[in-house]
């Protein structure tokens, strides 16, 4: 059978005696829930073809069959550790379509939840990065320390992960009594604790020798490939949506975006850690500036614009970079079309580019430094 009659993806390839094709994945862990088809010549990768889709759940199709409120719990499933941030652009988009103004206190609660979730996600990502490199201390420490913040989110929303806390019009519940005090105490301890990671991980000569100067992404290529988040900022592009297109109350807070120029795996793995320190700083500011009382949710009113097509595209800075939500509404109670443009999917394009010419042994460190979450990319 020649290639002409085969559906795309099943095309046959001529075998080469020298080049070996190796399927990495899709078992978990090692590659996450995805397959990376690498072609190796000896120890060097000559070509790489990422093959995501093993956990594709059709979130976008499901959203067309559910109304705007019942969409909330399933839309945060792509990244359960970062559920507030995944939901954030959707909620902002629905508010924009309905023309709702959210109470001031709710905006601060959202910012606090979003930063807590960013840390929870990044700690999990860091734990996996540790185990990818065979550094088991770096698996145990973040996996244990993130419990501190998970406890805080549990106090707020009642659930350890998948909080479903953001709703169009504000947040589901107000903060529990005495929360500010507990949160400040936990955050101070957390900050002190993650600073200790430098000694065991980021200043560790073994880590540095394995990640420095591997998988270098230049500034020009980062822009051309359209990568986002920590991958982009590790290549020297200062682009953080919390500063560039501030949503909710980020413009009233002092946000510092971390930028490094090297563009290698080391820089890409360090930026999320610096971001966590920045998140602690933001949470402290937000706790101080937040109105001490007031409403946290406004009642939704029927769509004032009535029937007819309308669309909106909102984006936020998630743990993995810019996360956009494109909603097309036809005035009914379900979205006509909902598209999630996620950081993981956008960063995946850099993988074949970075792995070409790299040693096979460097594949895990380069792959996971892309801040890639397979479930999010598949949706």
């Amino acid at each position: 059978m020649t290639n002409e009659f085969l559906p795309p993806g099943l095309a046959l390839q001529k075998a080469d005696e020298r080049i070996m094709t190796l399927n990495v994945g899709p078992q978990h862990p090692g590659s996450g829930h995805m397959r990376i088809i690498v072609q190796i010549d000896g120890d060097y990768i000559v070509a790489c073809d990422p093959d995501p889709g093993y956990v594709h759940r059709g979130e976008e199709k499901m959203a067309e069959y559910r109304n705007y409120i019942t969409n909330i719990p399933h839309l945060e499933r792509p990244v359960i550790h970062d559920s507030c941030n995944v939901l954030y652009p959707y909620v902002l988009g629905v508010e924009d379509l309905l023309g709702i103004e959210v109470p001031e206190r709710a905006k601060y609660v959202r910012v606090i939840c979003s930063e807590l979730n960013r840390c929870i996600y990044t700690m999990y990502w860091l734990a996996i990065y540790g185990i990818f490199l065979g550094h088991s201390t770096m698996f145990m420490w973040p996996a244990g320390d993130r419990e501190l913040l998970i406890d805080l989110m549990e106090k707020i929303s009642g659930a350890r992960v998948t909080h479903a806390h953001f709703v169009p019009g504000g947040v589901r519940n107000d903060l529990p009594p005495n929360f500010e005090e507990v949160c400040l105490r936990q955050i101070n301890y957390f900050e002190k604790r993650i600073k200790e990671y430098a000694a065991v991980f980021y200043d560790n000569p073994i880590l540095i020798s394995r990640t420095q100067d591997t998988g270098v992404l230049s500034r020009e290529d980062a822009i051309r490939l359209g990568v986002t988040g920590s991958v982009l900022r590790a290549s020297g592009v200062d682009y953080d949506l919390r500063k560039k297109e501030p949503y909710d109350v980020y413009e009233e807070l002092d946000v510092h975006s971390n930028v490094m120029k090297e563009g290698d795996s080391y820089a890409r793995s360090k930026i999320p850690w610096l971001d966590m320190l920045e998140s602690c700083n933001i949470i402290k500011q937000a706790l101080e500036k937040m109105p001490k009382s007031g409403s946290v949710r406004v009642k939704l009113k029927p769509n004032p614009k009535g029937k007819g097509f309308n669309s909106v595209y909102k984006r936020v800075e998630s743990g993995r970079g810019s996360l956009g939500c494109h909603i097309v509404s036809d005035g009914k109670v379900e979205p006509y079309r909902l598209k999630l443009s996620v950081g993981s999917f956008r960063n995946l394009i850099a993988l074949p580019y970075l792995l070409k010419g790299e040693k096979l042994g460097n594949m895990p460190s380069v792959y996971w430094s892309l801040n890639y979450w397979p479930v999010e990319a598949d949706r």
């Binding site: 795309p8 297109e245 595209y313």
Partner: protein, 259 residues
Amino acid sequence: MTKAQNDSQNICHDPNGGVPRLLEIMSRLRDPKTGCPWDIQQTYKSIASYTIEEAYEVADAIDQSNWEELEGELGDLLLQVIYYTQMGSEDGYFTFESVVKNISDKIVEKFGDKIVVSFVKVNRVGINVDKENVHDVAKFIRDELNYDHVESVSGVDYPQDKEIEVVYHIGSYSDPSLASQLIVLATRAEREENPIPGKDATRLPTLRDIFYSVEFHEREVFEMFGVYFTGHPDNRRLLLPEDWADLPPLRKDFAIKGR
């Protein structure tokens, strides 16, 4: 003190006030009654020489790779822009917002009635264009307007119009003044009722040769809507299984069981 006065007071003392703060301070300096005497006297011509001087200082700082000084010099140059904007809005020539709105005007000026500006919202400009012209418009957006990457490509199925719309959200990393701006470029292809996998008749030209970043996005639209991108080097399935033989799943006529 009225609320408006109170707001203007707040923004002037806010160190993170950004461009609104600068505009507010400049409009106060130029206030004919209470402003600064020197600032009120200035005209376009009297400021122009300062602009040249500041531009030279910026170029000088870049030559010497003195990044700390460059920061300050760029601030001085920005103040010149604010100055002209204030004088322009006093004379009714233009305002700062209209400088931003220029993006859509530039595209209209170049392509005329080949395109339709569907909306101009805060930070978003919507452009609708035929599939014959989408390639040229995208090239113009990249080369002349400094946009450099595509954030999102979404397909939208309209069976009632017998069309499938593909929407590109185009942004810019390299031009800081466009950081919050997105161009929403939409184009439509004829919708084929019975798509045959691998032989799709619903076709659009690819933008991959203009924006490299659309590569995986277009592959996703291809499998989910059956839109074949002519000229795309790698029109293969991405998320779906290779042997998927049903309709493209995000089309409206692909129904979920039990719903």
